[in-house]
Amino acid sequence: MSEPTAMESTKPTRLTKPTKLSGPAKTDRDTGTGKEPGTAAGASRGRRSPALVAGCVLVGLIVAIALVSLFWVPYAPDDTSGGRLVPPGLPHLLGTDKLGRDLLTQLMTGARIALEAGLGAIAIGAALGVCAGLAAGFATRWLDDTLSTLLDVLIAFPTLLLAMLMVAARSASLGTAVLAIGFAMTAVIARLTRILVKRVLALDYITAARTSGTSWPRVITGHVLPNIWPTLVVNLAQQFGLAVMAEASLSFLGLGAPPPNASWGRMLHEAQATVFTAPTGVVAPGVLLVMLVVGVNLIADGLRDTLDPTRRRTR
């Protein structure tokens, strides 16, 4: 066998220099390791993103307030015996509103309402959206086109209009608001999921996995879902913040939970007239709302850095 060309010098020599590693990382998806659990945990602790910590602290505070409100609030929500527009002090720590209800009590139950609204909407949006997105992503062209058109229409439909229609059809309640927000969110999440699936499916490592005889279910659970998961989680966290804001907006307009259930949005609405005489009524729910939304977005940023090993290295 003649070798007329330049490929003669093919002795198996040393490999190229190994690249520097950043040490073992946190999640343990492979089966071939597990030898140094101690170092792995230590390394991940050192790498935790400051955004994640700050976000957890902010959201943790709100969650703590909401949990306490389940067992104890200073006054009953409809107790107006303290007098109207009492300034902050004792016995009403943050004062009372124009009807004489305790502000701290309202804030605490409001925290619970806000979290319930966010979680409920995300649960609906994620359950429906991820399923629809996966279906569209894997579907044949015909089904994909149909689903995509449907999603585009749903996205173009204003959330507020959807909420008003649903309130008209049912009644103004937290459940109605959450349903409306959840449906609106479904379209956004489904479209994102679909794009992520399509993008991953076109990548070489999916084909490579299939060349070794990996079945479709295993390709989906082993390669597709883990690879769309980080982006999806980060977006779900952001959507959670948007859902909380949306609930506050709907309550502000009177389309959310009716009294006596306190909601931050409605507190803001009710305190509008007295913003200069009793600013606490506007400032307090406003601050908590910002804390929750900023906290959730910080968590989203932190997760983005933590979940993606290619980003982890830069820390």
Binding site: M1, S2, E3, P4, T5, A6, M7, E8, S9, T10, K11, P12, T13, L15, T16, K17, P18, T19, L21, S22, P24, A25, R29, D30, T31, G32, T33, K35, L203, D204, Y205, T207, A208, A209, R210, T211, S212, G213, T214, S215, W216, G222, H223, P226, N227, P230, D308, P309, T310, R313
Partner: protein, 308 residues
């Protein structure tokens, strides 16, 4: 490098008994005097069309015997990579194959037709009958899965290994492709190792399937020239050790002639010439083949002029 081939007790005339079209080439002798000349891949009149009906590969025929090596040479866009994918029934959506692709399903027994086969049937064939090593090892590895997990996949599936035995097999697989510090690489993500190391990992994954036929789709094109020759030598040695058949797809006639013994030259989706490496390189008949040989020689002579 081809001493692996020459040293083996070669049986001549291991060609398939089927009548061949003028473009058919049967790649070489099977190793081992006792082994009957089984065909691991038989491609007959393979045509690949887009959904608009344009033929990207037309009427391509070739076959590969057990343990022998065939090179598929052609410029980019000549349909060689598509042919490799069609062999495993993995054409991109919208493309359809017609003709016949038969893969050896077991040691002996009838081959399995790939064209038109169900996904379930194909999943059973992929890996064991044939598997592919791709050109770009960075994109061919899952970026979010550690190397250990990726190599473990085929070992778990094909050899049914679990637990400590699986861990040992993963380590062995990485040692076989001469990766340094296998314990570190097992824990690494693909972006944390070099290009040459990634291609070795991809090779380890392919070999873990213990395929009858290894399809190498430009496995060294994305690598540095120095790393290229190392990986090529490794591939050559490992395939010879295991008596695997090899379908080597490349645009580089020099590389192909170094590792294979028969060559099919593709141009615009059709085979323009086929034969042994020796024939093709010494007496190219088709003008396109002559161009390929000339340009390969030209590069070499340019290098030699500088050396002298």
């Amino acid at each position: 490098m081809n001493e692996f081939e020459k040293s083996g007790p070669a049986v001549p005339g291991a060609k398939t008994a089927d009548a061949k079209t003028s473009r058919t080439v049967a790649a070489g002798p099977a190793p081992g005097p006792a082994a009957p000349a089984a065909t691991v891949l038989d491609v007959r009149g393979l045509t690949i069309r887009t959904d608009q009906g344009r033929a990207l590969v037309s009427d391509l025929s070739f076959s590969i015997g057990a343990g022998s090596r065939l090179g598929l040479v052609g410029e980019s866009g000549s349909g060689k990579s598509l042919t490799a994918l069609a062999v495993l029934g993995l054409l991109p959506p919208g493309m359809t194959a017609s003709g016949s692709v038969v893969l050896a399903a077991g040691a002996d027994g009838p081959g399995a037709e790939v064209v038109g086969a169900s996904e379930q049937r194909l999943t059973g064939l992929r890996g064991r009958a044939a598997t592919i090593v791709f050109q770009e090892p960075l994109t061919a590895l899952d970026p979010l899965m550690r190397i250990g997990g990726q190599v473990a996949g085929p070992l778990r599936r094909w050899r049914g290994l679990r637990g400590a035995a699986l861990r040992r097999a993963v380590r062995e697989a990485l040692e076989q492709v001469r990766l340094p510090e296998p314990d570190r690489i097992i824990r690494a993500y693909p972006h944390e190792i070099s290009g040459g190391q990634r291609q070795r990992v991809a090779l380890a994954m392919a070999l873990a399937c213990e395929p009858a036929l290894l399809i190498a789709d430009e496995p060294t094109t994305a690598l540095d020239v120095t790393v290229q020759s190392e990986v090529l030598a490794l591939l050559d040695g490992l395939v010879a050790e295991r008596h695997m058949a090899l379908l080597f797809v490349s645009h580089d006639l020099a590389v192909v002639s170094a590792v294979t013994d028969h060559v099919v030259v593709l141009k615009d989706g059709s085979a323009v010439e086929s034969g042994t490496v020796d024939e093709i390189v010494r007496r190219p008949r088709h003008p396109y083949t002559r161009d390929l040989v000339d340009s390969a020689r030209h590069l070499e002579s340019a290098l030699e002029r500088i050396v002298r």
